[in-house]
């Protein structure tokens, strides 16, 4: 889409969606240019623990005397980066298998469907905790476990929407023409389900993002000394009892991004569904 169209789309969006897009853009800039923006290093210990907000340390220091602002900025990079990585993995896995299940049908569909049913009937947080207790909190395990769990929901959606398309006559036309599975999936089905998949990507990202933040908050996610918003809340939570809102900043940073993505997704769903209502 040319730039001018993109801009027009932006202007036509409701206020909430505009706000969402601006926030997402801001977060993207901060994560990409984190080393340039942050006043101090990510893990540098600079002063005493829990120093107050001031000129030197704009938002004070944390429980180990590291600059809060710098860690917030680096945290964007780490937390968003990992959430994005997991979402992309979950998406590739879920949407490809989902579309194949819908197009091929038969036994492939049955078997994949049963596996997903079982995985989905276990609450993901419990599942993740179980796996972490066995394997320990190593990053690759964390990433693959959450990605697999999350791909089940993507699978469901991709399969259901692809099914709706696969029963249409134009897919039958392609079959009768003698087209191969690859063509049917990529050229006939995929273009018709991109809108719901894109929206789902946003929702999945929110979910993953909240999920790893929750795990980090429980001390089981991204491990120190890496700056990460969830663990920053946990590490500094005692400040709350002194009526200090500093630990709420990383939590607020998580909330703000999730709100922004949700606003944009809501608008996209509304647009793609026309007058139909989607929650």
């Amino acid at each position: 889409m040319p730039m001018s169209n993109l801009f027009k789309e932006f202007l036509s969006a409701p206020l909430t969606a505009k706000f969402g897009m601006l926030v997402i853009f801001g977060y993207a800039v901060i994560s990409i240019f984190a080393p340039l923006i942050a006043p101090y290093g990510e893990t540098e210990i600079l002063g005493g623990a829990y120093e107050l907000w001031g000129d030197k340390y704009l938002l004070g220091t944390d429980n180990l005397g590291r600059d809060m602002l710098s860690r917030l900025i680096y945290g964007a990079r780490n937390t968003i980066g990992i959430a994005l990585l997991i979402t992309v993995l979950a998406f590739l896995l879920g949407s490809i298998t989902g579309m194949i299940a819908a197009t091929v049908g038969g036994w492939t569909d049955q078997i994949l469907g049963r596996i997903v049913d079982v995985l989905m009937s276990i609450p993901s947080l419990i599942f993740a905790l179980l796996v972490l207790s066995i394997f320990g909190t190593a990053m690759p395990y964390l990433i693959s476990v959450i990605a697999i769990l999350d791909s089940t929901r993507v699978f469901r959606l991709a399969r259901a929407t692809a099914m709706n398309v696969a029963v249409m006559d134009f897919v039958e036309v392609a079959r009768l023409r003698g087209e191969r599975l690859g063509w049917i999936t990529v050229k006939e089905i995929l273009p018709n389900i991109t809108a719901p998949l894109l929206a789902e990507f946003g929702l999945r990202f929110c979910f993953v993002f909240l999920f790893i933040s929750a795990l980090s908050f429980l001390g089981l996610g991204i491990q120190p000394p890496t700056a990460d918003w969830g663990s920053m809340v946990r590490d500094n939570s005692t400040l709350i009892t002194y009526d200090d809102i500093t630990p709420l900043l990383p939590a607020g940073a998580i909330a703000l991004l999730t709100v922004a993505v949700n606003f944009v997704v809501d608008w996209m769903l509304h647009k793609s569904s026309g007058l139909k209502d989607v929650s």
Partner: protein
């Protein structure tokens, strides 16, 4: 009911029951509000029936609902008056309108299956309006329900009301809804396409009920439909609408015999049977031969039983039958989507592999298909260029300039200009979409095109144009058509040979002239007599025939033994037809049929 309802004017003429003046309604679309009814007037006296006729987008349903003071979400009345028996409905309070609805004005929807609440029994839904409005007690309402069911000839009237909506067949449910509308003895009924979704033989049964209600009980009615022949049986006056404007209004007789406007003439013309002249010197030799095919889905019964058809090159063979007759299954068997349980298919003298996956590119190319719903037969994300171009590159290996030139040539053949090449299906009208589907089929340079109900989703005038196009292409390109349809008028206008399906078996087949002339197979006779004709009194005449009395109000059943039509057949031979398969006989006129009776007996 208030006292002022029966007032007369000074001049002595009776005030109309319903008067609509300068009605304007707007609808909300993605581009904002736009007018869908543009200043319509109508008048309806007590006991009169007014037909609202128009194609899709004419605004006829919107007007029908507005006459009850009701608009759907996303619609609003912007101007005009709706006066029902002295009460202005546009300004009346919701409560006042609510008290009128169901008691004095009642509504009959297009789909009874959707309009009945699945969570309640039918008689409970019948009694709801009279009891809720305080017209009848619960006991009285239920008694009235049973009486109405009985007088409308519904089966088992004492107990049918205890059933749930999903337990009753489509035609019966539609009649139950007519009965429900009569629960409070209304002055005005609004019928919104009540027979559109039904088969012809079922349509008659519902029409009979409606006719009985409006004539015997002297109820005024607005009857909304796209089918002139149907409404001509019921209406005193007709209004033709187009894009929210009134085109013409007249008495039914005048409208049918002396239409004033071109559009009305076009509507009438499209609904008149145009007999096709027989194809010139059809070549000898069959292009497609179906040899005693039996087929069914998964573990289900045989949907097709021992079906043999042969299609001569350059001809059009029409397959007719009601829903559930197996005619679309036949198309699936021919294309290889459903491998038959037994039997074989030969194409140009070569036996086709039963499964799609085993057929080669040439075999696939030679037979193409066109579908009922052009909306879902075209990928909404592909441009016309890609849609028509794909078979060119896939089958014929064309690319670049050559492909482009051929696409434009094909567009010309289907009478569309080259400006269409960059459009998406969403930017085309229904008729244009169907033309693109035809072009896509032509692109493969096939010998045979299977047309599956290709005109039934289109408005009548558009459908007529598509039929003309198909015929022109046939004579220019020497195409062979297998034409599947439930509409006998369409079949009559395009076919050389007709195959009549009933419950998965061939009842009769032969040259069109032979099938559509006596001697008839009893089912063909029922089918032919059920097609509404464009003249008044057709309904009464037809209902008095013994075919109609025996054959309507029954469901199509697939049977293992005997003749599947035996329950509905007026000429049934009680013991034999139930237990023995009817023999296939050949008549002197050159067609074959499956019946216990001889051609001579059937000719009478």
């Amino acid at each position: 009911m208030s006292a002022e309802t029966h007032s007369n004017t000074e001049s002595g003429t009776i005030t109309p029951l319903l008067e609509v003046k300068g009605l304007r309604i707007e609808g909300l679309s993605e581009k904002g509000w736009h007018e869908i009814v543009c200043g319509v007037d109508l008048q309806l006296k007590r006991g009169e029936v007014l037909g609202l006729i128009g194609e899709s987008g004419a605004g006829k349903s919107t007007i029908g609902l507005a006459s009850m003071g009701y608009t759907r979400d996303g619609c609003r009345i912007t101007d005009g008056d709706i006066i029902f028996d002295g009460l202005e409905l546009r300004t009346a309070s919701e409560e006042k309108k609510r008290r009128l609805r169901g008691t004095r004005i009642a509504y009959v929807a297009q789909s009874a299956a959707a309009a009945f609440n699945p969570a309640h029994r039918l008689l409970d839904q019948f009694s709801e309006a009279p009891v809720d409005h305080g017209v009848l007690s619960r006991r009285e309402a239920e008694k009235k329900g049973r009486d109405l069911y009985r007088s409308l000839d519904l089966p088992d009237p004492e107990n049918i009301g205890e059933r749930w909506p999903h337990q009753v067949s489509g035609g019966q449910l539609q009649r139950m809804m007519v009965a429900m509308a009569m629960a409070c003895g209304p002055d005005l009924l609004v019928f919104d396409e009540p027979t559109t979704a039904l088969d012809v033989t079922t349509q008659i049964e519902v029409l009979k009920t409606i006719k009985e209600v409006v004539t015997a009980r002297q109820v005024a009615a607005i009857y909304i439909t796209h089918d002139l022949a149907v409404v001509a049986q019921l209406a005193d006056h007709l209004m033709v609408l187009r894009y929210g404007d009134l085109i013409e209004m007249n008495t039914t007789g005048q409208m049918l015999t002396a239409p004033q406007q071109d559009y009305t003439r076009a509507l009438l013309d499209a609904r008149t049977r145009h007999e096709k002249p027989p194809s010139e010197a059809a070549e000898s030799g069959a292009l497609l031969t179906i040899n005693s095919v039996t087929a069914g889905y998964r573990n289900g019964p045989d949907i097709l039983q021992d079906v043999s058809v042969s299609v001569t090159r350059g001809q059009t063979v029409a397959v007719v039958g009601e829903s559930g007759s197996g005619k679309s299954t036949l198309a699936r068997v021919i294309t290889g989507l459903l491998p038959p349980r037994s039997g074989s298919i030969e194409f140009a003298g070569e036996r086709l592999p039963p499964e799609l996956a085993q057929r080669n590119k040439r075999q696939l190319r030679e037979a193409q298909m066109i579908y009922q719903m052009p909306d879902v037969a075209l990928n909404p994300r592909q441009r016309v260029r890609d849609i028509i171009g794909r078979p060119l590159s896939f089958y014929l290996g064309l690319s670049g300039k050559e492909r482009e030139r051929r696409i434009i040539e094909l567009l010309e053949q289907i009478e569309l200009s080259d400006r269409y090449i960059d459009r998406f299906p969403g930017e085309l009208s229904g008729g244009e979409k169907q033309r693109i589907c035809i072009a896509r089929a032509l692109a493969a340079e096939p010998d045979l095109i299977i047309c599956d109900e290709v005109t039934s989703a289109l408005d009548t005038i558009v459908a007529q144009a598509i039929l003309n196009l198909l015929q022109r292409l046939q004579s220019e390109l020497r195409l062979t058509y297998l034409f599947i349809s439930h509409d006998l008028d369409t079949v009559a206008s395009i076919a050389d040979k007709v195959v009549v399906f009933y419950a998965g078996r061939i009842a009769e087949q032969g040259p069109k002239s032979a099938v559509f002339e006596p001697p008839f197979h009893p089912y063909t006779r029922l089918l032919l007599s059920s097609v509404p004709e464009m003249r008044q009194n057709w309904l009464e005449e037809t209902l008095s025939t013994r075919e109609a009395q025996a054959g309507i109000a029954r469901e199509v059943k697939i049977t293992e033994r005997g003749c599947p039509f035996n329950e509905r057949c007026p000429a049934v031979i009680p013991d034999i037809c139930v237990s023995e398969r009817p023999p296939v006989q050949t008549a002197a006129s050159g067609h074959t049929f499956a019946c216990q009776h001889s051609p001579k007996e059937l000719a009478s």
